[in-house]
């Protein structure tokens, strides 16, 4: 029960931070962080894949509704949720754990960074491509994707370090 409440709190909290704060950020006209993806990345491993995709859809749609981009965040989030088990197998291959929440305490700092970076890169590529829906300015688009990925990864790692310290 407590676990569900914590999850709901994270869900709502991250969505709010994204909508009220981070959506307004556009660093150097390039980088916009999308921190809500942390919810999908840090949820425990054995979460049912379909349930996770449904949650990712809901979360993405919630952010979409506030950013006037129906379908964009939702699509990218579902994509990440779909590929997450594969990514986890790739970067946290230890099978001895029954179930765990991906994080630096379980996976170690660098494997987690790699896991987050790949997932975020996937998410942001999908997101920005869906948003632009053309390859016309592919150079600028790639730059945006890379800068935003960097910013999001930094934010995710900060949250992770703060949680880890506690």
């Amino acid at each position: 029960m407590e676990r569900i409440l914590t999850r709901i709190a994270w869900f709502v909290g991250l969505a709010l931070v994204q909508v009220l704060l981070l959506n307004n950020i556009c660093l150097f006209g390039l980088a916009t962080p999308f921190i809500y993806i942390y919810f999908i990345l840090a949820i425990d491993r054995d979460t049912d894949r379909n349930a996770l995709m449904a949650m990712a859809f809901a979360l993405g749609l919630l952010v979409d509704v506030f950013s006037n981009t129906p379908g964009v965040n939702a699509g990218a989030s579902v994509l990440v949720a779909f590929f997450r088990p594969g990514l986890l197998r790739l970067f946290a291959p230890r099978e001895e754990f029954e179930n765990f929440e991906p994080g630096i305490s379980v996976m170690g700092v660098w494997p987690f960074v790699r896991y987050v970076t790949v997932a975020v890169l996937l998410h942001h590529s999908a997101l920005f491509l869906l948003e632009a829906f053309s390859f016309a300015h592919i150079g600028f688009l790639s730059l945006r994707i890379l800068c935003s990925t960097l910013l999001t990864v930094l934010l995710v790692m900060s949250i992770e370090f703060i949680r880890h310290k506690r």
Binding site: N50, F57, V65, G71
Partner: protein, 286 residues
């Protein structure tokens, strides 16, 4: 059949994935135009309410810029007032000579630009204000400075981006003033103490000033045009020799919470000449 279900169940995540992504794309395409996206957009009542709350906070954070914009607008309006007053004056002077009309315009020939008071003191004998405009913005020493409510002081020194103003609240400040509607000049000095009051010296005794009269600038110096609000007369004290009266004036400018100021730049000779050229044909017509 059983096998088929089992297969489907095994691949359920694919089905869910494709289903959800399809929904996303449908959304993406069907809500692409703004009008149909009312329900899934910021125009929705729930989201709008939340965003309104956010807007309240962000507008508060943006007050500095807002104030800046308003101050600039005020300066523009002030300038319009000065210009319009000059025009009105010119039209009222039918019976007077064109030369005098031009000299009225001449007096009103000020350009007003806004500035922020970024530092000030009011409790010393010689107080100064600092404005955030300097020579780069066209401010120069000996320009008049007024606030929203009336006269503030005179620009004393300038750097490139800042200027020091000698306000009325400085023992060296002396500004020529008169009673509104009267013709007798006196000079306004501050003798320290209460920043709300200053003394208007050397008014002739026969000028018949009464408490409650409005004190304005005389326009006899180039710092200010005629008629800028200075304050309200409070009490009159006869001087020792009985020839003059000294007036205690309640200053209209609230120096304690002064934020915005306007620098009055007197238009230079060429500008004035251009203005006079503009006026000549009009006066000839009459």
């Amino acid at each position: 059949m059983n096998n088929l279900f089992q297969f489907l169940y095994k691949q359920l995540h694919w089905i869910v994935f494709i289903l959800l992504e399809t929904i996303c794309f449908v959304l993406l395409f069907s809500y692409n135009n703004y009008q149909s996206s009312v329900y899934l957009s910021t125009a929705n009542r729930m989201t709008a309410r939340l965003l309104k709350g956010k807007h309240k906070v962000t507008t508060y954070l943006g007050l500095v810029e807002q104030n800046q914009a308003l101050a600039e607008q005020n300066a523009l309006l002030q300038q319009h007032i000065v210009e319009l007053e000059a025009m009105v004056a010119a039209h009222h002077l039918d019976s007077l000579s064109a030369v005098e009309a031009v000299s009225r315009i001449h007096r009103a020939g000020y350009q007003v630009s806004p500035a922020q008071v970024i530092d000030k003191s009011i409790n010393k004998v010689d107080n100064y204000l600092t404005l955030d405009r300097g020579t780069a913005d066209g401010v120069a020493p000996d320009m008049g400075v007024m606030g929203v409510d009336g006269v503030v002081g005179i620009v004393y020194k300038c750097t490139e981006h800042y200027s020091l103003v000698m306000p009325l609240l400085n023992s060296n400040s002396s500004i020529s003033c008169k009673v509104l509607g009267g013709d007798h000049f006196g000079y306004l000095r501050w003798q320290g103490g209460d920043p709300r009051y200053a003394m208007l010296h050397d008014l002739p005794r026969y000028s018949a000033v009464e408490p409650g009269d409005t004190i304005v600038t005389s326009g006899s110096s180039s710092f200010f045009p005629e008629g800028v609000m200075v304050g309200i007369a409070q009490e009159a004290y006869p001087s020792a020799d009985g020839l003059y009266v000294t007036l205690k004036v309640q200053l209209s400018t609230q120096f304690a919470n002064l934020e915005h100021a306007f620098v009055m730049r007197k238009m230079d000779a060429e500008e004035l000449a251009a203005l006079q050229e503009l006026l000549k044909p009009k006066n000839k017509k009459r």
